[in-house]
């Protein structure tokens, strides 16, 4: 009997540790199961509907046949215009907050506002959008109003993720740069941004998938149930995938299930694709990182 022989006490501890591992593993599997179930269900039910015709034609016969092209194009318009608004503002605001602003009560209030704005439910953003953009600014129900609403919704998250990416650049990098006589902006431009761009882009791209999936903010501000035309300008209304899915599953009778699931599958694939791109970008840039 050596000193390190297992005692009944340590065997018991080992057993309970294994039980704990098993429970934790079960929790993790439980977390993944619904995702796999949803994806599997969508692919199984929706894949038969997918075809080039489904993707590139307009819905016909009371939206019970045909494709979803106007909805795909509409979603791209909404996401594109909203990102064109929120990405520049969000990144520049984050650069100011992280690199220039001193820690005063004003910046603390701004931080608080951003954190809280990120937690506002999307339907509240929607109502704000109706009041501000549709009615007050008289943009009407249009892509512009819907995109502005989406932009306001995604802005706080873009600011927060950009700030985090900037803060991840070690302070010593900046100090080294300052010490050779570089200005603040030179430091930001040549040192901080190149080293944080992966995180910044990831944050922005993740908001693409959020903007593409939301229904509430566009419901009253710009998306329509049916528009047999592709939008020509930001003043037009458009269809959107999320809204189309809602419509054909709650309003329209005798829509073949394959079309409903097919639409859902396209929406999910679009989001997965965008997230995949962000993962690739991040890993490529991270490989070049020097610390």
């Amino acid at each position: 009997m050596g000193v390190f022989a297992t005692s009944p006490e340590s065997r018991r501890r080992h057993r309970s540790q294994q039980v704990a591992f098993a429970v934790l593993l079960a929790m993790t599997v439980l977390l993944v199961l619904p995702v796999l179930a949803i994806l599997g269900m969508l692919v199984w039910r929706g894949a038969p509907a997918l075809s080039l015709e489904f993707l590139f034609t307009a819905p016909v016969r009371g939206m019970t046949a045909g494709g979803i092209w106007p909805a795909i194009v509409g979603t791209m318009w909404l996401v594109g215009v909203s990102l064109a608004i929120s990405a520049p503002i969000g990144v520049l605001a984050a650069v100011y907050l992280n690199e220039y602003a001193r820690d005063s009560w004003v910046t603390r209030v701004i931080h608080l506002a951003i954190v809280n704005l990120a937690g506002v439910p999307s339907i509240v953003h929607a109502l704000f959008g109706v009041g501000a953009f549709v009615l007050f600014f008289r943009f009407g129900t249009s892509i512009l109003s819907a995109s502005l609403t989406l932009a306001i919704m995604t802005l706080p998250v873009i600011i927060a993720s950009t700030k985090e990416a900037l803060a991840a650049v070690p302070m010593t990098f900046r100090e080294a740069c300052w010490n050779v006589g570089a200005s603040r902006w030179q430091t930001i431009w040549h040192v901080v941004l190149p080293n944080s761009i992966a995180g910044i882009l990831t944050g922005i791209i993740l908001q693409v998938s959020r903007a593409a999936g939301e229904t509430a903010p566009i419901l009253f501000t710009g998306a329509a149930v049916f528009v047999p035309f592709l939008p020509q300008s930001v003043n037009d209304q458009c269809m959107a995938l999320s809204m189309h899915l809602f419509t054909i599953s709650t309003q329209v009778q005798s829509v073949p299930q394959s079309i409903t699931y097919g639409t859902a599958l396209v929406l999910v694939l679009l989001v997965v694709l965008v997230n995949g791109v962000s993962i690739v970008i991040r890993s490529r840039i991270r490989r070049r990182r020097k610390w």
Partner: protein, 298 residues
């Protein structure tokens, strides 16, 4: 290097925004005809817009729902070209439209709708009267179970009636409530208020205990349409397009497309087409009662 790419793309994006805001800010009106409102009429409006594209390929029409209330509210704000309504506008709504937009709303009758009372297909109830409906739906109504209206429904445990109704900005809801209870009275609480006509029919199809109401255009093989009588001793009438047109079916109502002022240009052209023989054929195909020939646009 990478940050230059970032800056260039950001400024390109910002340029797009400036452009977008410039275009939008000038208040340039979309060339789309915006058509919004009644959920009862959404499939009709959609079918009309889809077919009109073949008749007039250059006129873009966008269709959205939300309910008659949503359509009329948009009209009052001047944010819609044509509001779909499954009831007439109230005087107050007309007044506020005039006040906000400076134009009088004009109601264009485009079809008739017969509102049917639906039950589960196994429900033996053959006939229902107005007072029975009031007893089931009304605030003072005492009918709680199917035996209170004299039937036993197979598959319905407890025989308790499940009342399917609509959300309160629905024109269908307003019309049905007023017809059953009269002005100013309310339904009793505890009904299942659905977002759309199709939802009501779906609920009734899946619930043996249920009763509901929706346009006859939403009938499916999974539900039963109940024969409707006004007085307790009156003969009952099955809802149909013919009965709605002749006035024999009591629960039928006109459907409207409402414009701000007399329509002009493309909007006038669209409404004329909707009220023509071609448009009315689509109305009939979608399950609504078309306008009688003398009310159509020639």
């Amino acid at each position: 290097m990478t940050s230059r790419v970032l800056l260039i793309s950001l400024s390109a994006l910002a340029g797009c925004v400036a452009l977008a805001l410039g275009v939008g800010g000038c208040g340039k009106k979309s060339r789309m005809i915006q058509n919004k409102g009644s959920d009862t009429m959404i499939n009709l409006a959609q079918a009309l817009a889809e077919e009109y594209r073949k008749a007039a390929p250059t006129v873009a029409i966008s269709v959205s729902g939300g309910g008659t209330g949503v359509g009329i509210a948009a009209l009052q704000n001047g944010t819609v070209d044509i509001a779909n309504a499954s009831r007439e506008m109230k005087a107050a709504e007309k007044a506020s439209t005039k006040k906000n937009t400076g134009k009088d709303p004009i109601e264009h009758k485009i079809a008739y709708d017969a509102l049917a009372v639906y039950t589960h297909k196994n429900n033996p109830l053959a006939k229902i009267t107005k007072s029975q409906l009031a007893c089931i739906y009304g605030e003072q109504g005492t009918c709680r179970t199917w035996s209170d209206v004299g039937v036993e429904v197979p598959g319905c445990s407890g025989q308790e009636i499940v009342r399917a109704s609509r959300q309160n900005n629905s024109g269908t809801y307003a019309y049905f409530r007023e017809w059953v209870l009269g002005e100013g009275k309310d339904f009793k609480l505890g009904s299942r208020d659905m977002q759309g006509s199709k939802d009501v029919v779906d609920l009734v199809a899946n619930t043996p205990c249920a009763i509901g109401y929706s346009g006859i255009g939403y009938k499916t093989d999974e539900v039963k349409v109940v024969c409707l009588a006004v007085g307790d001793t009156d003969p009952c009438v099955e809802p149909s397009i013919a009965a709605a047109l002749s006035g024999a079916y009591p629960l039928s109502r006109p459907l409207f497309m409402i414009t701000l002022g007399e329509p002009t240009g493309e909007i006038a052209g669209y409404l004329a087409w909707v009220r023509s023989d071609v448009g009315q054929a689509i109305v009939e195909r979608t399950g609504y009662a078309p306008l009688p020939p003398d009310q159509r646009h020639k």
